[in-house]
Amino acid sequence: MIAIIDYNMGNLWSVFNAFRKIGAAAELTCQPADLAKATGIVLPGVGAFDQAMDNLDELGMSPEIKKRAAAGVPFLGFCLGLQVLFSKSEEGRDRPGLDIIKGTIKRLPPGDKVPHMGWNQVNWARQDPLLTGIADAPHMYFAHSYYVVPDDDQVVLGKTNYVGEFASAVAKDKIYATQFHPEKSGETGLALLRNFVEIAK
């Protein structure tokens, strides 16, 4: 079972719908105990970093997510769900994140419109089971004002150009995260989710 973490940060039904569409057994949950039963964990989310971390902490999800990720349970975060995986963010109070992967969340620099909104290409940095059958440089759907700067370049799985190049997908062991929204990226997005479901079997 894929556990989709429901922490009141928007858009969760879209994610649930996407997993249902590809025929995966997925459940929305706000119970930390449910993560122990999950073969894969999904952390979606749109909104502000501080609110997201506060909500995860209040639900008691933060330690459980860290525990499961450390145990090697496949994990997929997207958009805000990518950002909270990292050490800290410049957004809001500059508070710590889950710190599962080292790095900092920064505001997109001036020079073009913010939010970075729409379809942009992702150039894969290497091969990975998550990308099976997915073409190089596909367009994926983005809607964000902050981006990640990982401490270690090795975790970068994909890069995108927007006021310079940034890491739009990261992977460390079986911990995956994308800045784009696979659940809103049409057939290519669904293909990526299917690959995650395979990894999480």
């Binding site: 928007g10 858009n11 039904w13 879209s14 719908n17 996407a18 249902r20 569409k21 749109v46 909104g47 502000a48 001036p110 073009d112 419109k113 913010v114 939010p115 970075h116 909104m117 729409g118 379809w119 942009n120 290409q121 367009h139 759907y141 983005f142 809607a143 964000h144 004002s145 150009n161 927007y162 659940e183 809103k184 990226s185 049409g186 057939e187 997005g189 669904l190």
Partner: protein, 253 residues
């Protein structure tokens, strides 16, 4: 590079897609979910549902439509029409929409923009602006209530203000061009797009692919919204995109 977006707009009344000119001679044009699926398969980058249901009692039909669409269509969906409160927004987003657009109510209650941005994020708070050229040539006036009520706002200044209030995107309709199929108002789109630092979706006037090309280049719009040119299959989205790609516009193929 960030691609320009092509966005078909569906007018939804009492749970059905309707087609007409200026909300007149409306005729039934099918199920919104089916139409949305077809557009998505055809290459649409996003979809907009404009709920033009007139009676309050029937307003919940749009929730059902969004719900069913979100189970089948996996590109961003914006819903507008008649949104007045945070509760309205919450219901629409919970049903599966990704963004909401507010128009008349943003003028009457600008605080709604900020409250929406704070609660749900700027990325899902779209402000729709209907504008028409002022008689004296000093810009464009903002008109609300489906084009019936002029306001004291000038469109470029209002666009800047809604950006400050927290809007993440502007859907800009030229009342002069809307329904003519003679092309978008390039001047209006360029003026607004240059004045703000958030994406602008151009709307009103599309009749052929050349019009979309003009507004995405000269008009500096980030996305082009259109209804009739897609509805009547005069130009399928695929054909429009191929035309734009040929002209060197960055597109999602």
């Amino acid at each position: 590079m960030l691609a320009k977006r092509i966005i078909p707009c569906l007018d939804v009344k009492d749970g059905r897609v309707v087609k007409g000119i200026h909300f007149q001679n409306l005729r039934d044009a099918g199920d919104p979910v089916e139409t949305a699926s077809q557009y998505s398969a055809g290459g649409a980058d996003e979809l907009v549902f404009l709920d033009i249901t007139a009676t309050l009692e029937k307003r919940d039909t749009i929730i059902d439509v969004i719900n069913r669409t979100a189970q089948e269509v996996f590109i961003p969906l914006t819903v507008g029409g008649g949104i007045r409160t945070i509760d309205d927004i919450s219901k629409i987003l919970k049903a599966g929409a990704d963004k909401i657009s507010i128009n008349s109510c943003a003028v009457r209650d600008p605080g709604l923009i900020t409250r929406s941005a704070e609660k749900f994020g700027s990325q899902c708070t779209v402000v729709a602006i209907d504008a028409r050229k002022k008689q004296d040539g000093t810009g464009w006036e903002v008109v609300i209530d489906a084009g019936t009520k002029p306001t004291e706002h000038e469109a470029v200044a209002w666009a800047k203000q809604v950006e400050k209030l927290g809007s993440g995107e502007i859907m800009l309709t030229s009342m002069d061009a809307d329904g003519t199929q003679n092309g978008y108002d390039i001047e209006l789109n360029r003026a607004v797009s240059e004045a703000v630092n958030i994406p602008v979706i151009a709307s009103g006037g599309a009749g052929k692919p050349e019009h979309l090309y003009k507004v995405l280049t000269d008009g500096k719009a980030d996305a082009a919204l259109a209804a009739s040119i897609f509805h009547y299959d005069s130009y399928p989205i695929k054909v429009v995109k191929e035309f734009l790609i040929d002209k060197g516009v960055e597109m999602r193929p």
